[in-house]
Subunit: 365 residues, 5 copies
């Protein structure tokens, strides 16, 4: 029982970010809204072109500056948003708008893309599924697509980009031959592909619940349905804006995105629609499950009550009969007869049997 309130607390804070300490500050003031999830900021820089590949952990953000002008593609990944000074320095160096910086550190943004002429700002949510609590958690990931440059910002270490890093290291696939826009696409693609993995796990949960619903529904089933419903509300809230975001990325006429990349973005868009379709189907299924649960429980209850009531109904007339012959009237001739007691039992059994047959025929139990 201890675990439950904790889960619920998480649920709420997934829907509204606490930002009380933020309101009242001028727009563009950088304050990190969200939980600080790690001790110090980790900065990883990957620099590559078709021939060369370079990977470094940066100590100071200033070490990244020289890469700005290089003709190679540079991917700078920042894990941890609580150290505002890092973000501010980056912002100054790469000429980022104050609102962009605010959106990066103010986690809880809706997925969106913003064309700021010299760079594209993309923000979306990366999901993780906790098998234990069966809840979906989300983390905000922001991207800056500049000229030959991708900056990515995450709240914590750990992401779905490792396969892409591998591909960059070993020059697998097209990614080393293409520009920064293609890198951005692969990163987005990895996040959306990860949504399918999560849907698969939720699908397993749905399947298990349906099984339980048929074999042994109890009050726990109800709460699981309720929690699944809540996960759906949360998923929808994360997934729907994605569609709009990737669509406007695909249609953006920014010079930063090459024509050949558009077709790949359309592919990500198709995947997003598939994700949305699946979430909607799950929603429909879960609300169907609630109906089934309610009527199963009610059917079961009815069955029990019917049996119990039938038993009571069988014995009440007989108890009356026994009561009659327990009366002390002086003038009760049948009392003295020899076979009247045996006759009482015969009549009793006769009534019992005929009532049972009648009830059986009526399918009352």
């Amino acid at each position: 029982m201890k675990a439950k309130p904790k889960t619920r607390k998480k649920v709420r804070s997934r829907l509204v970010k606490r930002q009380s300490h933020k309101s009242g500050l001028p727009p563009g003031t950088l304050v990190h809204v969200g939980d600080q999830m790690m001790d110090h900021v980790r900065m990883t820089l990957l620099d590559y072109d078709e021939e060369r590949f370079d990977e470094r952990q940066l100590e100071r953000i200033e070490d990244a500056y020289p890469y700005k002008a290089s003709p190679t593609v540079t991917w700078l990944n920042i894990d941890g948003l609580h150290d505002i000074s890092v973000i501010e320095k980056l912002g100054k160096q790469f000429c980022l708008h104050g609102l962009t910086l605010e959106d990066i550190v103010h986690t809880g943004q809706r997925a969106k893309v913003e064309d700021m002429d010299t760079y594209l700002f993309v923000v979306l949510r990366m999901l993780t599924y906790s098998e234990e609590t069966r809840t979906v958690q989300s983390e905000q990931v922001s991207f800056i697509l500049g000229d030959h440059m991708v900056l990515s910002f995450q709240e914590t270490v750990g992401d779905v980009f490792d396969p892409i890093r591998d591909r960059l290291r070993h020059a697998k696939g097209r990614v080393r031959k293409c520009g920064a826009d293609y890198l951005l696409y692969t990163l987005l693609d990895a996040i959306v592909d990860n949504y399918f993995d999560i849907l698969e796990k939720i699908g397993e949960h749905v399947e298990a619940l349906e099984e339980e619903l048929v074999t042994a529904p109890d009050e726990g089933t109800l709460h699981e349905i309720h929690e699944l419903k809540r996960e759906m509300i949360f998923l929808r809230k994360s997934v729907w804006p994605l569609r709009e975001m990737i669509n406007s990325l695909e249609r953006s006429e920014s010079v930063l995105i090459e024509k050949s990349t558009i077709v790949y973005l359309r592919d990500v868009y198709d995947h997003t629609i598939q994700v949305i379709d699946t979430v909607e189907s799950f929603r429909d299924m879960v609300s169907g499950m609630l109906d089934i649960y309610l009527s199963s429980i009610s059917n079961r209850m009815n069955a029990v009550m019917k049996v119990l009531t039938v038993i009571a109904t069988l014995f009440i007339p007989l108890t009356f009969l026994a009561g009659v012959y327990g009366m002390n009237f002086k003038n009760m001739p049948e009392i003295g007869w020899k076979y009247s007691y045996a006759g009482f039992w015969l009549i009793t059994l006769g009534i019992l049997v005929s009532m049972v047959i009648y009830f059986k025929r009526k399918k009352w139990f």
Copy 2:
């Protein structure tokens, strides 16, 4: 009971394709996502114009290459998608985009059309209805419409195209006189026409369930309604994207589609709308059936409970009366009276009859 979990497993995998072994691979990597449904790939080639008709089973995909340049219409049908090398060779020979190839083998696509300038890529779902499990199964069918050329890809042998093959063989209808775009239309038309057959079968199921609902609803009825609802969710998910797809095919300005074919595509579009209308009507009817089921069950339960309760209510006051004359008070004058026992029975019957009349008049049973 064994069969049920199986059915359910299928249901889930119909909604989300397992693709765990795929995530992390670079885009454009060809991995078949879906169940391998057959042993080896079957390639059938039909080549025709108004005068000539040629039909062959190909051993190697290379045998299809010479037909590429021929002025006759060529239809190459591939059954089985697990042999990636065949798809790759075809892709190279016919200059197909990597994402197109990925969409072909990655079954679970939403119906869509993509204009790739030199070819049109069309993907949709072909449905089959299993009378036994009363479920709808779907298979992905992809088409490449090139210059004088249609490539079609299916997951397994067996489709709804046999009448079209017949018509080609015997030069029935317009199809031999028209180009590859008309062939594509007839193939799409066959798939959509097949949807009506499936709706007809589901309609029969709905009809049978409505019958059952009126005559003998039980818990099985509830589960059938639930499963029908789930089929509707699945059908909607397959059918709605079709509308958009055929609409954008009709409006596409590709040179590969002749003007005279547009009117036929509009006809397919009309059929798709009819399919969607019918699915939506079924959905409405099924959710109406749930209401009816619930209140029928509740009415029946109430009827039983009322009869039982009435019986108990009739005898409880009488039992009290019998109890009274079973008391051992010394000073109970009526005990000694001559006709008091007969009087007891008279009163008892009187109470019984008047209560029955009262309850009858109140329509309580």
Copy 3:
């Protein structure tokens, strides 16, 4: 009970037309889909201008050919669609597209208009209401608007056009002074006006049901609500496409429709919207009725159960008391007292009366 399954069968076939014998045939093949409703085809020709009026029953379709070129307005009405040769000959003579002919004989089309350059093809559903089964039946009506020419196709004899025929015969209203497009408008207007008549009858049914709901709801009421709901599903399916159809007719830029007729079409459009509004209002009312029914039934059930339970509850403590003085303990001093029996009755009545008062005050029965 015999009648019910029949009604239900009709319902299904109203939603999906059986077309199993059709699938697989090449598009444009003329096969009549639907029930053959009459023995032979009846062809009626009306030919008129402002001065002249001519009306004939045609024996052979060839008799209609000479009217094609005449400057007068010709209305050829065909009742019965099963004789494919008639439709085919007409198609050839008047240069109708294969798909148009297919749509005419393949009843079950959604309402639509198609601009085929040389003619406009309009298809919609004409409704009839059977007072007996309280169901709405529909029949497909197709129109071809050519130059000075309207062809109309119906599944069976009997329609809502008699007043128009009268007006033509007696040169009432504007219709004799206007062209074929105005004739088409009057025909459409007659069909849509007829929808109001049907809504009026359904409105009476709704009213009667509401009455019944308040005075004497029983299980039959539930089934009537369910059937009314089903009629609404059917009506919606017929009516919604009409809106789109008449709108696109009004906006079509075909030369066949004169500017002065547009304003009349807009009027039909307004009527269609009114029909849709009313259907939607009825739907809302019917689903409100279901709620009322369910809670009325449940209220009534509760009332009965409460009374019965109160009776049982009144007597159970008294029965216990009687039981106590039926015990055979040797040492029960009150047994021997002179007024203890009278006292028992006093106490019993006291308990009874005070419980009744308590329950009454609590409004428990």
Copy 4:
């Protein structure tokens, strides 16, 4: 009880106008559809400009003709639509289209505006709220905005325009200084403002019902909720088309509406949206009330049943115990003991008290 069916009859006829006697007549034939609400037609003419003001009751419609050409603004109000000849003469004199005249007398129109080049035709519904039956009644009001001329048509005497007449008489506000379009605006504004009054009254009803729901819900509450729901259906049907109508009036590019009036029309439009918002909020509240009612009733029922069942459950084991010592076995040693009767009572009370405590602790009553 007499009043109820009457109310219901009105409800239906509010949704569908009986027009049986109309169908079959040629379009443009003037037949008054609706109830005749008054004996003779009342015609009131107001003629004014900034300096002059003239008000007259007309005997014959011909008296209005001279005002047609005058440069002053003329407002002719017709109360009563059953005298077709008046409408026809007006139509001829002011060159109104046949369909316009039909829409005027055929009450039951959806709110709409039609730009007929030489005049604008506006039709909408004026609502009145009957405190007694708590129903909303509606009356069709039609306006013709011509050059310096507004014609208004109402079904019966009595409207919401008296304050406007006053302002015209006493030259209050801008209305005497502006043209006919501004007059039309003030008339529309008065009708829409009146909607707020009606919403306020319905709001009071909703408030009263909510009060009742908390303090004393009974079956009457259910019927009131149902009737309120029906009023909402009716209100929505009247209000939604208004939005579209006023929007298209605002956007119409008719020369009859001056630019300076547009901003006033936008204001009416804003009010209409507010009305719609409020109706939708009421709808949401009313359907929430139904949920509350149902669960309140069910809670109350449950509470009663629980108390009754608890009483029965308390006494049944005790009755058994009393039954045991009423048995006539010869060999029952406790029967003869001195304190066994007192002991019986002690045990009985012990069982009773401990069960009561147990049930109380479990919060069963």
Copy 5:
């Protein structure tokens, strides 16, 4: 209980503003619609540019006139709308349209923006959350954005603008360097940011209710869910128009808004969408809670009823048995046997134990 009706009264008046005393007056007549919330009007003027800052409380509205022409940015805030003369004078001095003035004093406006060429008129609702009654209250705030000038109108003293005043005083952030349009943005931003605070508080309420729902649901929970639902209806009504309003502000091509401010408005727009998303998620959660509540209550009731019924069912057959041996038949051989009484108890306990085991195994209690 006293407090409740009061709350409810407030609810209604939040949905419909009483304006009975207004209807009938000519448009543009200034009448304050709403509760007078303060004694006298408070006028605060802030005048600033990058170097200078001036703050004054005005005694008379005429003191504000000189600032009209000054090149510095002037913000005049009016608290209290009941003194019409102040509004009228302002309107005359700053050339405001009559309808603008009407909208300012006629509180209850929907959020909207109106481009009046020489100024922009913005109206929206500022929310406050009362922890005590757990209700959201709203106040209308209107803005006039003129050249170098912002006028703001509030119903009462107390707002969310204090941090902005602070920033202006101490020249924090960008606001002193930018124009009046940026000031308007910061004011709007403060209002929308405040929405998040309110959502956070409602989120806490939702969380507390969910807790209660799991641990101890009672009828109070139901009413809290109902009231939460009503708050959601009210919030939606306030929030949805905001989206449209800020969107049209962002897209307005008024010269009063500089290009550089547009990106900030887009940021406010994003926040509005987030607010709407959260409100919708809450709505979904609250309606899920109702389902959970209803079935929890029903489960609990069922559990109680089952236990009680089981107890009754256990004793009824035993009572019958005791009744049998209480009969007075002369010829009952078992009566005289030595161990028959002990045997009776053995049989009784045997029946009791086996029934308990049977019921336990069936999980009936």
